[in-house]
């Protein structure tokens, strides 16, 4: 008897939230100028380790073990990291499932830009270019060049930005980036307005700006296939106390907010990046014939079966039932034969029942769940399907009765004929 085997990539019993974060700085004064953001991380239970980015003792791992769960790079101008850390080390860190926040600004080095490129976003190559927006700038008495953007074009996603709507615009001052169209994992979280462009505000525009309009991304996130999460922004000031405390009024709008949306925005997004939110796990993938409870080793074509799986969401403290109406199961052999949306009981149990197709072979139950902001679930379980046995076909087909009748009358005739032939005189 063939033994089923299945793989569940996302079975995690330990809490998925990060604990230890390494913060790389250009200048230790950033600790003080961005203290609200750092303190909010500390108060949420993260251990922050501040290091200068060129610290000669810098290391991400020791004896093959990573020392940190997440990395915050607030050192836009760094040309070369200190110690044994380099671009490849940071990428390895992410490749092993760790999280990353990169903040750039107009002083960004090639190192930071190439790191961003590896993550799927391209910063404007012009080193003097800033995001300029002559329509949705933040009204400020002392900022006249419209590089202080009041951005409010957020992605619509509760899992990324929290359930509470961000009312006040987010202040942004920095450089533009665009998403790499070939990368399907990167998402624009905060986009610029259609009037925005990326250029040097102090020099005349001679050639069309390389980035214009809503294709400019101000803040982007990536969720890698291994569920490592990355946040990239072109404004380090976005996290600063000055912007977090500042009041904001978008040009042309009569409403003035006492506080910018920055604090809510960076807090909520950091929750997502460090896996406080949007982390799913799937357990107890089961299937059986309708009316039975045991999992069979094999199905016959046209059997009725019931499939079920439990999905839970990490709430930051505990695993809560995940409720959604778009989880789907596939019965798959080279291509899906059946693709069905699972119904759920609001307690985390998802189930569906359907008929096995009339094609035999080795099938898989597959749950491929990729939703904006959530970790992806990728489950599969192999199951063979056999055809009818010879005695499982229909035995008495009405349409064949004339043939049977003919045979049996012939046999009866033969029986009679044997008497006549042998004993007639």
């Amino acid at each position: 008897m063939g033994r089923n085997y299945f793989t569940i990539l996302t079975v995690l019993s330990i809490p998925p939230t990060d604990r230890r974060l390494l913060v790389l700085l250009d200048d230790l004064s950033l600790k003080s100028s961005h203290s609200i953001f750092f303190n909010s991380l500390k108060s949420r239970g993260f251990d922050l380790d501040f290091k200068l980015a060129d610290d000669p003792k810098l290391a991400l791992q020791r004896y093959g073990q990573y020392l940190y769960d997440g990395l915050i790079i607030f050192s836009p101008s760094i040309e070369r990291f200190g110690g044994v850390v380099d671009l490849a080390a940071v990428l390895d860190f992410v490749d092993s499932g760790h999280d990353l926040i990169i903040a750039a600004d107009s002083s960004s080095s090639d190192l930071i830009k190439s790191l961003a490129t590896e993550c799927g976003v391209d910063f404007d190559e012009d080193p003097s270019a800033l995001v300029i927006d002559h329509k949705s700038y933040a009204v400020a008495e002392t900022e006249g060049d419209h590089t202080l953007i009041a951005a409010d074009d957020f992605i619509e996603s509760d899992v990324l930005l929290g359930k509470k709507k961000i009312e006040a615009p987010v202040l942004f001052q920095g450089i533009a980036h665009s998403l790499n169209a070939a990368n399907t994992l990167v998402l624009k979280v905060l986009s610029a307005s259609p009037l925005a462009y990326s250029a040097n505000p102090n020099s005349k525009l001679s050639s069309p700006p390389s980035l214009t309009g809503s294709s400019i991304s101000l803040v982007s996130v990536v969720q890698a296939r291994n569920n490592a999460r990355i946040m990239i922004t072109g404004s380090l000031d976005m996290f600063s106390n000055r912007f977090l405390r500042s009041s904001v009024q978008k040009a042309g709008s009569p409403r003035k907010y006492d506080k910018s949306g920055n604090e809510q925005f960076v807090t909520e997004l950091s929750k997502w990046v460090f896996h406080v939110r949007g982390h799913l796990k799937a357990v107890n993938l089961r299937h059986n014939k309708a009316g039975e409870t045991d999992e069979p080793a094999m199905y016959r074509i046209k059997d009725d079966l019931v499939f079920s799986v439990e999905i839970y969401e990490w709430s930051g403290k505990s695993w809560e039932p995940y409720v959604a109406n778009d989880v789907q199961v596939q019965l798959y052999m080279m291509s899906p034969y059946v693709l069905k949306t699972l119904s759920n009981d609001k307690k985390g149990l998802y189930h569906a029942s359907f008929k096995v197709p009339d094609v035999y072979g080795v099938f898989q139950f597959k749950v491929e769940y990729h939703r904006l902001g959530y970790t992806s679930l990728s489950l599969s379980k192999q199951i063979p399907v056999r055809p009818f046995r010879h005695n499982e076909y229909e035995r008495f087909i009405t349409a064949a009765f004339p043939y049977y009748g003919a045979s049996f009358t012939m046999m009866a005739g033969f029986f009679l004929f044997s008497f006549v032939y042998l004993y007639h005189k």
Binding site: S32, I132, A181, T184, S206, P208, D326
Partner: protein, 687 residues
């Protein structure tokens, strides 16, 4: 003035880079500092973690004028009493306890002070390290102030002065102790403070040569001052990993404190350039509002010592608004304050010049004096100069002190340059869009209204060009050239092309490659915007049908476009398996009818037999052959029955097994009966 801007153009114009030497605007300490101070210095359960922290909190509150003493009083005084009363307290704790007491004025018995005084004096005489001097001498000065004991003097003030001075280095920096060769700028600040304290504790005049040498050290220390482009000065440690790293802020504030303390107790000028003092003040203010308690204390405390120092009191010229709107008729307002935000001495603010950004040749206005409004303490220019149109300007201000005695007291920093944006509405007129043939005039010109909606529809091929023209003029009637004037063509496939509007037209022919040979409908959008334009706009103009030639073989493919990020996720369409359709069968009735028909031949056979008059006379009459005959026919019947059973329920194997036995049996009985019948018929024939 009329300026026609043409589309489809990629022209390279030498970029005009403005010089960035214009100073930033620095604002003095304000209320936001006060609210942040309250946030940062929050005692845990009524007390701070250390006396040093308590002192920092109290000092910050004192400078900012926040009355929070009562909240902290009890716990802090308790801690001060414990520290001063204990004989085993560390020197540093004693020092901070005295400092806290200096602000809180706790009730402390005289004999406690006596004890502390004598222990501090003992420390001074035996001290060798800079910090020991700093804490002990500093402590004694505070006791002297608090107890108004005029007879508290250092026994050998000159000797102590000399031993502190002995730790100084030739570059004006200090060592922490004589064993440690590393010198530090931060230590220099502490040393100057300690020296100032020694001077104030000295019963007689300190030798002027020692004072002079120290002044020299200060001048040397100022040679190592560092500078930013915007005119700010600061001190930083040269060696980063000295025993405790001090950032530029704490280093600068240490030097500022030491310098002002030393200047306060010595007579005679230090001959320091007032610009550098102003630069230091600007550095401290330029930090903004620190988010760290220690940084805030350093900033506020050192600004407080600059506020009333004897070297030069910095005056900060600031503008509440540097963006002035012509439509709102904003006026130029200037404030002059000390670093902590109090009012400046009587002075006049002059607008010396107004320059267009980028051109520094001629001033647009003659020197003008700003009117002072004593109530709001604001200097204002009633209206912007007539010649000032929308644009970016640099306003140059100058402060002139009324009292000539003040010239040495205050640092005004000469002329202050402030970048000003003058904004206004820009009029858009006679906008036209046209497709031109290569040689002659336009084939079709369409007027467009850039203030309303437009749905112009044009078509063109690669031999034609497109011209878009419009006039922009300011309210003063000058032509206006915006920073952002971009024409954007978006193909149905979302491929975009941007063109800077502003130079001669270009044929589609030269652009076909850039367009990736994509014919079809393009949406046309115009964006006009500038930092000083209050009515920046993005307008859809309409669409353009482009007829471009077929792409040659090796033409570049258009770049991939981003998928809509919402479409990337979301459930897929459901798939249900389509089962094979069962074969089409005739209706039951038909099958039954044919079943009936198949019975007919048997019936005919029976009738035929009856007609022929069938008899069974040949049946063996003797008993043994008769038995074999019966068995033979039973056997045949059993085989036929076997077939029926095979049809009804049995499988082939059971049937064949049974058939094997039956076959053998039939062979046997069949052979007997058939041979019997054969012998009878041969007998008959022979007979």
């Amino acid at each position: 003035m009329a300026r026609s801007l043409e589309g489809f153009l990629v022209l390279i114009v030498a970029a005009l880079v403005y010089s960035s030497a214009v100073a930033s605007v620095f604002q003095p300490i304000s209320d936001s500092h006060r609210s942040v101070a309250l946030e940062l210095f929050t005692p845990l359960e009524g007390s701070f973690s250390s006396l040093a922290e308590t002192y920092e909190a109290l000092r910050t509150f004192e400078v900012l004028g926040i009355d929070k003493k009562t909240d902290i009083n009890t716990a802090a005084c308790q801690s001060v009493l414990e520290t001063l009363g204990s004989s085993s307290s560390a020197l540093k704790d004693l020092f901070y306890a005295l400092k806290v007491n200096g602000i809180l004025k706790c009730e402390i018995k005289k004999d406690v002070f006596e004890g502390v005084t004598s222990s501090l004096q003992a420390t001074v005489s035996s001290a060798g390290a800079l910090l020991d001097f700093y804490y002990s001498v500093g402590g004694l000065v505070i006791i002297k102030d608090q107890t108004s004991k005029d007879d508290l003097y250092l026994a050998d003030a000159e000797g102590v002065f000399g031993s502190i001075k002995a730790l100084s280095q030739s570059d004006g920096r200090w060592r922490y102790n004589s064993n440690n060769p590393e010198s530090s700028t931060f230590a220099a600040g502490l040393a100057l403070q300690a020296l100032a304290d020694v001077v104030s504790l000295s019963s007689s005049e300190i030798d002027q040569s020692l004072i002079g040498a120290t002044k020299n050290d200060i001048l040397k220390l100022f040679d190592s001052i560092e500078k930013y482009d915007d005119g700010t000065f600061y001190f930083d440690e040269k060696l980063v990993d000295t025993h405790e790293h001090q950032g530029p802020l704490s280093t600068t504030s240490s030097v500022v404190r030491g310098l002002t303390a030393f200047a306060a107790v010595t007579s005679g000028s230090l001959n320091l350039p007032s610009g550098k003092i102003l630069g230091l003040a600007r550095f401290l203010l330029g930090i903004g509002i620190p988010g760290d308690a220690k940084d805030l204390f350093n900033q506020v405390d050192s600004l407080a010592s600059l506020e009333s120092n004897l070297v030069a009191i910095p005056l900060i010229l600031s503008l509440p608004a540097t963006v002035l709107s012509l439509t709102k008729k904003d006026s130029v307002k200037v404030k002059v304050n000390t670093v902590l935000g109090s009012n400046a001495p009587p002075l006049t603010v002059k607008l010396v010049g107004v320059f267009r950004s980028g051109s520094k040749d001629t001033s647009l206005v003659e020197g003008q004096e700003l009117k002072f409004n004593p109530e709001s303490a604001v200097y204002a220019l009633d209206a912007l100069p007539k010649s000032v149109d929308v644009g970016k300007y640099t306003f140059v201000f100058e402060m002139v002190l009324h009292d000539p005695d003040h010239l040495n007291l205050y640092a005004t920093g000469g002329q202050t340059q402030i970048p000003i944006f003058v904004t206004g509405l820009v009029k858009v007129d006679s906008a036209e869009i046209a497709v031109l043939d290569s040689d002659l005039g336009s084939t079709e010109t369409k007027k467009i209204d850039l203030s309303g909606e437009n749905t112009v529809s044009l078509s063109a091929n690669h031999l034609q060009k497109l011209r878009l023209s419009f006039q922009l003029s300011t309210s003063l009637g000058h032509a206006f050239k915006p920073h952002q004037a971009i024409l954007k063509l978006t193909h149905e496939s979302k491929v975009e092309h941007s063109f800077v509007v502003g130079s001669s037209g270009k044929h589609f022919l030269g652009l076909v490659e850039k367009f990736f040979y994509l014919s079809g409908k393009y949406n046309v959008q115009l964006t006009v915007g500038d930092a000083v334009m209050e009515n920046s706009f993005l307008k859809a103009i309409g669409h353009l049908d482009l007829d471009l030639p077929e792409p040659p073989e090796k033409a570049a493919q258009p770049p991939p476009q981003l998928l809509d990020q919402k479409l990337r996720y979301g459930p897929k369409a459901e798939i249900t398996h389509i089962f094979r359709v069962p074969e089409k069968l005739p209706p039951k009735e038909l099958s039954h009818a044919f079943l009936g028909l198949t019975l007919l031949p048997l019936l005919g056979f029976l009738i035929g037999l009856l007609h022929l008059g069938v008899n069974l006379k040949n049946f063996p009459s003797s008993s043994v052959p008769a038995m074999f005959a019966v068995l033979f026919h039973l056997g045949i019947a059993a085989v036929l029955l076997l077939y029926a059973l095979f049809w009804l329920k049995w499988d082939l194997f059971t049937t064949l097994k049974a058939l094997g036995f039956l076959g053998a049996f039939l062979m046997f009985v069949g052979h007997r009966i058939l041979s019997h019948l054969a012998s009878i018929s041969s007998k008959l024939k022979s007979a």
